[in-house]
Symmetry: C2
Subunit: 418 residues, 2 copies
């Protein structure tokens, strides 16, 4: 099996100012072409630490992917160091220089002159192959040393991804004889990780050595991923299909989707397939549900709109929630969320509506309605159902898990009454 | 300087199924007590790789923080390995066992019997000090070996954070003589990273060796963080204050906040301090702006509510956007967003309103209005301003950067007309 290491360079990673999303994306892309990421290492902008990491990872892996340390405000440590490490000298690459000028003059429309630190992005070690960066000024660099491949890329996610898709994947595939890799993913809702594991214990124990099962629990969901490796993609694909069918059967009652997709996308496709429309009336979730649905292309096909009715006056004025209802039961009550659904169905003229009202914290909790109490309602013109939940997390997590539970209630309701 | 390494264990990190947010949080907490995270390493659920990482990081750092590999569905590799690595044997910890029973019976309310794999969470190596985990079943473990400190914790963020705050920080502070660390952060908007760097070139070049400046660009903002290290916290603090004042003066025209806070929180506090209220009318940003404001505690003090007017019909019915206006100019136009602001001010009865309408992609672009075109308007009863932007990213990034630009327009407007 071909092994890769990922080295991320930059103090910002070590002081925790930035969360490393590049490594996860890189790992997924490597997996798709049958390369296993064995280690990920983050080091700061220190020559010794970077050099040391290059030596160390070269001992672990055939491929060393390096991100960061190349930006215009980087402390000019990484590029000279790569020059030294790969016995080269810095030379200006004319194609890159032309591109940098183009970006600043035509795209960014920055007033001249172009800063030195930007022009210097065109300097590369003469011992590397330049991987042209359509998306930015810092080019990628491909080095080979002692049978190892080192690929240096800028840390800006969008630029790194462009370079990988444009150049890196194809070159790696043609350079290594990589195995066939197949994966299947399904998502469950409402059962704990260990309970799910217990239910499919036998299935998991009987998996052949070349097929692995990974659990990824989050927000009441568990994402199960089967990954199989082999030499013949057709054989492994058939093997995976039949195993996946078995797994789906054993989890059918709690399965949300049998694709590697977020739950809101599964519900979106369900609504689109039925030609039904949706509106939302969010109090405590504050628009999080709306932005989950609308973050995916094509959402306008079923999502008409939503109300963030944060103030009670808004619930009354724009969702026709009865003033007395709020006085008698409070804004966080079954009666209120039921009326919010009615109000949304009328205001937005949709087939289905979803409503939330709760106390997300840290303040606002009471004896009878502690922080984490939330009422969720979903319905159509004929029927409205409501359910109460109690969560015990901090504010943001309460909002997120409330939203995912609301979307799951919607999924079930549309399935039963769509 | 005391150095720490972070080791994260788990295949899910290496197949990219989960993004590592723990390391960034851990690094920030370590920095606050004057400990520098020198390296971060991620390895899979493989005994050799974990053992190897422990040896390697012990050569780099005095403190080795380990997260992951302890969950009930973990492949039972990490704990036995730690047992072996620290020459201990697994014993049941009665306090933890009692806690596990309590969680399953009283908190999770799971039907008995409690699964073996859950009860086994109470088994710990007899060579560790148990770090009690209020938030979950897997306890933290504190080991010492050859003058190095190894701290093993579960990978679930909420549980890891609870253990660190309850036990780890205090113990580390009393165990090491850590230096004083001070940091100051400000955020700029609307100027590129390299242009900002160019403007403060001299300031940066004249910084003393013990004070560092870090740049973190994102969504048109640049977060600048000064970090100083010294022996006397008062001296370093005074030094930092005067340097920070100089930096603020040089960037005053583009500074959004002089605190380490997100821009929407700076605007929220501005509105609260002025006793003014806000509503939002979002088309293309789909509720992202609303959820940014409401994700912070206390937002109900100024945020009354918002409309996600995704369909044109909703813009007309609920925001009184003139039908003819949309016919003549399209939904993505200055006239439409101006009317959306009016509609929101009336519907939500607020002092200020913010509106967005654009084409986020991938579909929907035209010759005259390509993907990335967005109109943003902000106003009060007396005045409404509108501005057009063109972004060139994929859908989600277009949504995010549009939202942050809208919030920055609001910030300026409230500053000028609040």
């Amino acid at each position: 099996m071909v092994h890769a290491s990922i080295i991320t360079i930059g103090d910002e990673l070590l002081i925790g100012q930035v969360i490393d999303t590049n490594s996860a994306w890189l790992a997924q892309e490597m997996n798709k072409i049958g390369i296993w990421v064995k280690r990920r290492v983050a080091v700061g902008d220190l020559a010794d630490d970077i050099w040391n990491a290059l030596d160390q990872e070269a001992a672990h892996s055939q491929i060393i992917l390096i991100t960061g340390g190349l930006g215009p405000t980087a402390d000019d440590i990484t590029k000279p160091l790569l020059c030294k490490y790969f016995d080269g000298k810095l030379v200006v690459n004319e194609a890159v220089l032309k591109h940098v000028r183009y970006l600043f003059e035509e795209v960014f429309r920055r007033p001249p002159p172009i800063l030195d630190r930007n022009l210097r992005q065109a300097e590369v070690p003469d011992t590397c192959e330049v991987l042209f960066n359509r998306a930015g000024t810092a080019p990628g660099m491909w080095f080979e040393k002692n049978g190892r491949i080192f690929i240096s890329m800028p840390g800006v996610p969008n630029e790194m991804k462009t370079i990988v898709k444009d150049h890196v994947l194809e070159r790696l595939k043609s350079h290594f004889r990589v195995p066939a890799i197949e994966s299947r993913t399904l998502v469950t809702f409402g059962m704990g990780e260990s309970a799910v594991a217990e239910r499919i214990k036998e299935f998991e124990e009987n998996l052949p050595a070349h097929i692995k099962l990974a659990y990824l629990p989050n927000y009441g969901m568990v994402r199960l991923r089967l990954t199989g490796t082999g030499n013949n993609s057709e054989i492994i694909s058939g093997e995976m299909d039949s195993l996946f069918e078995t797994l789906k059967l054993q989890l059918s009652d709690i399965m949300v989707t049998d694709k590697d997709e977020p739950i809101e996308l599964a519900v979106s496709n369900l609504l689109i397939s039925k030609g039904k429309t949706l509106s939302t009336a969010e109090s405590c979730t504050g628009g999080f549900i709306a932005q989950l649905f609308t973050s995916h292309a094509g959402s306008s096909a079923f999502y008409k709109g939503g109300m963030v009715s944060y103030a009670n006056q808004v619930k009354e004025d724009l969702l026709q929630v009865d003033h007395q209802t709020i006085l008698d039961n409070g804004a966080v009550s079954e009666e209120t969320v039921r009326q919010m659904v009615k109000g949304a169905l009328d205001a937005f003229k949709t087939d289905f509506a979803l409503a939330t009202s709760g106390i997300m914290g840290p303040g606002g909790g009471t004896e009878t309605k502690p922080v984490g109490t939330i009422w969720i309602a979903v319905g159509n013109r004929d029927k409205i159902i409501a359910q109460k939940f109690n969560f015990r997390f901090e504010r943001k997590r309460n909002i997120d898990i409330s939203s995912y539970n609301a979307i799951n209630l919607l999924r079930k309701f549309v399935g039963d009454h769509g």
